[in-house]
Symmetry: C2
Subunit: 466 residues, 2 copies
């Protein structure tokens, strides 16, 4: 008869402990295949527990296939094969990588959360939770909530002169995610072109999706269209309003050349990544290619991670009408990747004008921040050996430094001084220029009271400043 | 001299209107390439506006490349090429698809939001917003917030007897998303195997990633391991705790056969999708393959969309230690797809025990719901011609109906009676059985006061019940 010391069970339920004991006996061969278990009543009496306890233990053993029930005959141990319990490859103790906090991180594009209207956001979220109770039960459509797509379409009409209908918009968790969907929709025979220098990560994404891709050089007007034509690419990704990292605005002449390219052959499209277009410090917005295009060949992408708060992962793209059916047929089986809580909250945040106000406030904040860092730079010895390449936009600038140090040496020296910094060549397929180096200075998140100190420390790594 | 009626500008800024007027003149050829614009001062006097207004308009034209500035000579119109303004392909008026509301939707796996602890969630979110102010500035690591990974690891240890370290966990926006990362990490030469019947969508995802994939038949114990071996697949996706849609629990014997398969050749792995394992109405949890595996060959996946609320898009996977480096090297350039707001909130929701309480509450709710629908079924004439295939788990059951109608005819008749329903063959690669039909009844979201009515209406579509 099965005999177990049920007092050893600790805090786990009686039936659970009994199930585990019998299971162990089966695994270790103490109970052999074909053997009959005692009847529930007999075992219950033997162990001084209720019949229900034994019944529950047997039921669990039955569910997991350790025993079988034969009608009117009782429970029998099943043949299970070779059960190894001991881990042959025990888990190694893994280290969580420690996050390094630098004195200053010129790479981090942190925006200031102090400027994020948390109270408003939270109030809208509470409103949403009480108003949208029924709606939150529903499955979000693959392309995102109508309310958010409508709010974005209206915003683009007012702020970008773009004629967009909500059903053209696809919501996704990041532009990378949406870029992936484009690669899959156009297929692995389609070659993508990306800017060089530019977002190298797009090359990695293309490679991971198995799409051929080409770097296309840029000149002072942005991507060189002749090189694009020669590349054989069908789809080109670019940021005409604010090229990264140079800040180049693509002039109208080059834009028209690009349209000539896209219209020359069927199946060509432009992906316009307008990610950083909100933050221009002078003048009006740069018209998107989407608005200038006459043949619906532009796929427009943008994100709220940059303009609102990086903690949110909400991006969108606007598809030309002739691609909508293709997208639905090939990609709509993917569920929408953004939580509907945040979609409803953002929809209301945009529709009620808070987003526009937030962007204006951030523009003002970044304009001040930019003025302060430029002033700190001017007052540092670094100003004697450097000049700024900047276009009054975005939250970074390029700083060309005349130094004997190579870019690799500058990065190393910066690290030694507890600063993290990227150089121009990090975003280029070409090796760094031998003569001097160009730094990429992201200034959005640098604490204002540290700006002078930051510039002093940065200057100190250059022998020319000492 | 340029002359425009500035009173026509409506509400747009003066400089903006002036810029648009001059731009139109350049586009339409009224101002020709090489032509010199009047000096700012001259034009300002002529139009009775400030010099700043003209300067801003000229600056915008300069930025967009319509004019160029020659030092000490002024602004000149640039040659831009052929600018078409009129849309050659005007946007068609697109219809937003109307969302059909059925009398009852047996397909929709809606969970009851009335049971979601909105007040607690909202309080935790407020706490998070005030406590994590600094942390929210930071970029979320590619694998997700440490706090959430830690909370999940602890939960799995307590509730699934799984030894997991936080650094083994990857957070993503949905299991589909994580499944895609697995396809990319293992590469396009790797064949994936999926259950038949099962989640057909995984086939579509595999195809869109270009990975070969095979359907593997199941028997009463779940996936047939001989067929799996014969398929040549390296990675198999399955739900051993609750196969969809049959609810089969894979017995220990089949599990050991599966381990024998995975250990037979290097490079083989099991993806265990435990998505529906929280909702068992009798006994304890089914041990995950992950916990039974002795050679770290199981990738464990689960989601909070099912167990918490579908509006959240948060899933995770647990990678075996030997895959971590490979994942980091090949996939860590992808940013985390889940908002850090929701990651912090969920982390705190789990760590403070609310998640466990919520699951228990939902288990009770679904158990009652299940009892009520089974009772309603018993009282309907449908009970005479049908029997239930169900395993005391999940939020759906199969209903085998002895009827002259084919599955296609049943679905059609249901639609005509304003009901949406899926049949077994919808999840299978095989055509529906000629004899009778098997319905998939998702009952989680059906209003309780409608249950009797629902069953009456469902019975009415079968001639055998009339």
């Amino acid at each position: 008869m099965l005999t177990y010391d049920l007092n050893k069970r600790g805090s786990i339920p009686l039936y659970d402990y009994l199930y585990q004991c019998i299971k162990q006996d089966i695994i270790q061969g103490k109970l052999q295949a074909g053997e009959r278990l005692p009847s529930k009543r007999t075992l219950a009496r033997h162990l001084s527990v209720g019949v229900i306890t034994v019944a529950n233990a047997y039921a669990q053993l039955l569910t997991e296939g350790y025993v079988e029930a034969k009608e009117k005959k009782g429970y029998f141990v099943r043949s299970i094969g070779d059960y190894r319990v001991k881990k042959e490859l025990p888990l190694p103790q893994l280290q969580e990588p420690e996050e390094k906090e630098f004195f200053v991180d010129f790479k981090a594009n942190r925006i200031s959360l102090q400027n994020f209207p948390i109270a408003t956001w939270n109030r809208l979220m509470r409103e949403m939770l009480s108003l949208q109770n029924e709606a939150l039960l529903k499955t979000v459509p693959y392309n995102g909530l109508y309310e958010l797509r409508k709010a974005i379409a209206d915003y683009l009409a007012t702020n970008r002169a773009m004629a967009v209908q909500p059903s053209q918009i696809i919501i996704g968790a990041g532009t990378e995610y949406l870029y992936g969907r484009m690669m899959q929709m156009f297929g692995r025979e389609t070659t993508f072109a990306i800017e060089d220098p530019g977002y190298k990560r797009l090359g990695a994404i293309s490679a991971s999706f198995g799409n051929p891709w080409k770097y296309i050089p840029i000149d002072n007007s942005g991507m060189e269209v002749e090189a694009l034509e020669a590349s054989g690419a069908q789809i080109v990704h670019l940021s005409p309003a604010n090229h990264f990292p140079t800040g180049i605005v693509m002039p109208i002449k080059r834009r028209l050349e690009l349209f000539a390219w896209v219209n020359r052959k069927a199946g060509r499209y432009i992906i316009e990544d307008d990610y950083d277009s909100e933050f221009r410090y002078t003048g009006r917005f740069i018209p998107p290619l989407y608005a200038q295009d006459t043949r619906n060949k532009v796929i427009y992408m943008n994100t709220f991670s940059k303009s609102l708060v990086p903690s949110l992962r909400i991006s969108y793209m606007v598809l030309p009408p002739q691609l909508l059916q293709r997208y639905e047929e090939t990609m709509s089986f993917y569920s929408c990747t953004v939580s509907s809580f945040e979609q409803y909250t953002l929809a209301s945040f945009i529709a009620k004008g808070y987003f526009e106000r937030h962007v204006n406030r951030m523009k003002k904040y970044y304009r001040e921040q930019r003025a302060l860092i430029l002033q700190a730079l001017k007052q540092s010895p670094l100003s004697r050996i450097s000049h700024i390449k900047e276009r009054n936009a975005g939250t970074h600038f390029l700083l060309k430094v005349d130094t004997v140090l190579s870019e690799a040496e500058v990065k190393q020296a910066a690290l030694a001084a507890d600063m993290s910094i990227a150089c121009f060549s990090d975003y280029s397929s070409q090796p760094a220029d031998r003569s001097g180096c160009t730094l990429v200075i992201n200034y959005a998140g640098i604490a204002r009271d540290k700006l002078a100190q930051v510039m002093t420390r940065l200057a100190a790594i250059f022998p020319e400043c000492n």
